[in-house]
Symmetry: C2
Subunit: 145 residues, 2 copies
């Protein structure tokens, strides 16, 4: 299936923020992040700028500048990033939205899909960047033992 749950930019954003959460220290530049995470530099730049605009990150310009969290990683949820990069949280869009759908109210397919959508969104809402980063670290340590 090519219709995935999260897109590339959301994914990159998540991984980058996870990296930053673990790294702690001060501002990080896009070029360092791109190098470290093997993400195309210019693309990551867009992503970071977006996160800045949306208030997730703060930026400082000039030599030694870069990005730091404006919001605690524990308070950044996967759904926030999905909203930023993918728009409204919907995994099921009624095909007949724009056309005339005579049975929007009665459509049982729609009902089922909406239920599943709710399920997914509920789960996604509970995933925050801090816990993701922590779990990653734990898993990494296990692996090394």
């Amino acid at each position: 299936m090519k219709t995935g749950l999260i897109t590339r930019n959301t994914d990159y954003a998540v991984r980058t923020l996870m990296f930053m959460a673990r790294r702690k220290k001060g501002a990080v530049s896009v070029s360092e992040l791109a190098r470290e995470l093997k993400i195309p530099g210019p693309f990551l730049r867009n992503i970071m700028q977006m996160l800045g605009q949306k208030g997730i990150l703060k930026s400082s310009r000039g030599k030694g500048g870069g990005f730091i969290f404006a919001v605690q990683p524990g308070k950044i949820f996967l759904t926030d990033l999905m909203k930023i990069f993918q728009g409204a949280l919907k995994i099921n869009e009624c095909i007949f939205k724009k056309r005339v759908c005579p049975n929007k109210k009665t459509c049982s397919l729609r009902k089922e899909l909406c239920e599943i959508e709710d399920l997914v969104i509920t789960r996604l809402k509970n995933i925050n960047l801090l816990s993701l980063a922590k779990k990653d670290e734990e898993n990494g340590q296990k692996k090394n033992n």
Copy 2:
């Protein structure tokens, strides 16, 4: 979000099969279905041919010909149709699949998404065409009272 759970052809297939399940009678032609369901004829034709090839429907050619179920609607699941039109059931594709992902094993994002994927697929596997059609009918009746 544009990355939805089911695509147009799957959706059309579901609605068409629901229609056929309720209609019962013998073979139905694509042109009738297209007219009735307001789906672009040539597109629906592809869809129906696909369903024929995959053994969901049987077809008869010539005047009076058309499609009938080869499998009982109660034994056709949403996941079957998704597989046919959207390929393998995956709502989360690891971004680094083709590249080198150093932490596929430890990636906590991946883990979370896989869990959600399982949840969704479990639900989808339980949805069959007969029950969809029945529920639709019930809902329609309620509406009319």
